[in-house]
């Protein structure tokens, strides 16, 4: 058993992958509590798709460098997020619809562009992740993204929590609601970009929703939701990397699949909010 766990650690690729999985899983798990409490999984999903066209345009303009993909993705997600706000304010359409239109259009453009840029190999990685292909530089990027995102979210924990619980009362207590909302989405976008390498933009949403959603079925405490989500995200990601290595399956989908399996267990067996608990209560 010990061997089974330590064997993958002998390879430097795996060491990097495991450290990255821990960082990315932990950060995403923490941030996922905000996504679940804000009930904005669909918005975040749209933004994660918006990363791809940004990468495509960045490569087209400046070529593939360490930072070009990152900055392009950030810029595109911000543009599409703010663009959807502008469309919904300037027309009678709601923001979710505007967002859907903008991100699918941009995503389509991104796919067409990437196919013609001769980066077909990398495209698969951006879509579904390739945590084994991580270099030392990528690991540092991941590290700083994690530190930055966790730092901002922890520092603003109180006003964010108040806003999520009841926006109006938060406003009466002097919380700048709108600015905070923008900031939260900016941080979520950065977190999404940070997990691009691990799970790709198609699966990033799973990592940024499932951990806290699972804990949500197990606890009534706010801090347990945040720290439980982080731990679950980190541990499940590391476990998935190890399992993936042994079974020779892709680590990105493995991470999301392991999280999904844990969620299913919580959904059925949660002592307080599980399916079995419900039917037992009904039988009585």
């Amino acid at each position: 058993m010990i061997d089974w766990l330590t064997e993958p650690l002998r390879h430097p690729f795996n060491q990097r992958a495991i450290v990255a999985a821990l960082l990315i899983g932990f950060t995403n798990g923490y941030a996922s509590a905000f996504v679940v409490l804000k009930k904005s999984a669909l918005k975040v999903g749209s933004l994660s798709h918006a990363l791809l066209p940004g990468i495509a345009v960045a490569i087209l303009l400046v070529g593939l460098h360490e930072w070009s993909a990152f900055l392009g993705a950030l810029f595109a997600a911000l543009m599409i997020g703010l663009g959807s706000l502008a469309v919904s304010r300037g027309s009678r359409l709601d923001q979710d619809s505007s967002l859907a239109i903008l991100y699918t259009a941009a995503f389509s453009g991104g796919i067409i562009l990437l196919r013609r840029l001769g980066v077909a190999q990398q495209m698969d990685e951006w879509l579904f992740g390739n945590i084994m292909g991580l270099r030392d530089g990528d690991l540092w990027t991941t590290f700083w993204i994690s530190v930055g995102a966790l730092g901002v979210l922890t520092a603003l924990h109180r006003p964010l929590l108040m806003t999520l619980f009841d926006t109006e009362v938060a406003a009466t207590l002097g919380v700048p609601i709108r600015a905070l909302n923008y900031l939260l989405f900016a941080v979520l976008i950065v977190v999404l970009i940070g997990s691009l390498q691990a799970v790709g933009c198609m699966l990033a949403l799973g990592l940024l929703v499932t951990p806290a959603a699972t804990i949500y079925l197990l606890t009534d405490s706010t801090s347990a939701l945040f720290w439980g989500g982080s731990l679950l995200g980190g541990l499940a990601s590391v476990a998935a990397v190890v399992i993936g290595w042994h079974l020779n399956i892709e680590q990105g989908p493995a991470i999301v699949l392991v999280l999904g399996a844990v969620f299913l267990i919580a959904f059925i067996f949660s002592p307080k909010y599980g399916l079995l608990r419900h039917s037992a209560a009904k039988d009585r």
Binding site: L37, P159, A171, A224
Partner: protein, 257 residues
């Protein structure tokens, strides 16, 4: 009658007046409130009475600083309320609260201290003491670890009052606090509101049930887009006053309550 100052009024040692002068609030669809004028002070329990869409919620939100004011002024303790004040607590309508939010009773009450503690500072003994006092005053000490959906309607209402107490608010603005409560909870909430005003706080509540107005409130504001009458319940809450408020067919326009 002298009014004993409550714990948050004590340091000021004066009688606190809230006055609203010619207040107008506009929504995109048109005016929601027009020419609201009244003045009241700490130690009073005020009922806002009017039909649906009369602007009761709008008035409460305007006083709480949640809505932009088109014209007119709101003064609290002689100074104009600019945007928000820790001394004024707004309690949301029960339907507007996400009861499934993973938070406990004491978690909600603790939020009342965030304005004092700021965004980062850990809670001081003063903060903790205020939270304990608020929980005790609302009889929530035994329920402090309960998730908020696992409470009765009356208990839920008390949690939000406790948060306002922890915040050391002087003015409590309640939006239909009695709606959806059973008879016992209604009676006990009425008692609580009386106690709060007796302590020297100013309680202003949008109120629906006309039968109970006389038992609970000292003053009433009859409202229908504009203030029709304001004063002691015995003088204002009359047959003719109510007919004027509810009697006429509703004016055209969107409901904004």
């Amino acid at each position: 009658m002298t009014i004993a100052p409550h714990d948050s009024c004590a340091h000021c040692g004066q009688h606190h007046e809230l006055s609203v002068e010619n207040l107008c609030v506009r929504y995109r669809e048109g005016p929601a409130l027009d020419g609201i004028t009244f003045a009241t002070s700490c130690g009073t329990c005020v009922a806002l009475i009017g039909p649906n869409g009369a602007g009761k919620s709008t008035l409460l939100k305007a006083i709480a600083g949640l809505l932009p004011i088109a014209s007119g002024k709101i003064f609290w303790r002689g100074t104009q309320v600019a945007k928000w004040s820790r001394e004024i607590a707004y309690l949301p309508q029960r339907e507007n609260v996400d009861w499934q939010f993973p938070i406990t009773v004491s978690g909600v009450v603790r939020m009342g201290r965030y304005p004092q503690a700021g965004w980062w500072r850990p809670f001081s003994p003063t903060d903790e003491a205020a939270i304990e006092r608020a929980l005790a005053a609302m009889d929530l000490l035994d329920l402090r670890h309960r998730q908020i959906s696992a409470l009765s309607g009356g208990q839920q209402q008390r949690v939000f009052i406790a948060r306002a107490l922890a915040q050391q608010a002087h003015v409590l603005l309640l939006d239909e606090p009695f709606s959806g409560l059973d008879r016992t909870s209604k009676a006990s909430l009425a008692h609580t509101l009386r106690e709060l005003s007796k302590e020297g706080r100013l309680v202003i509540a949008a109120h629906h049930d006309l039968d109970t107005v006389r038992d609970i409130y000292d003053q009433a504001l009859l409202l229908r887009r504009t203030s029709l009458a304001f004063g002691p319940v015995a003088e204002v809450f009359t047959e003719s006053g109510l007919e004027q408020t509810f009697g006429q067919p509703a004016q055209a326009g969107k409901e904004v309550a």
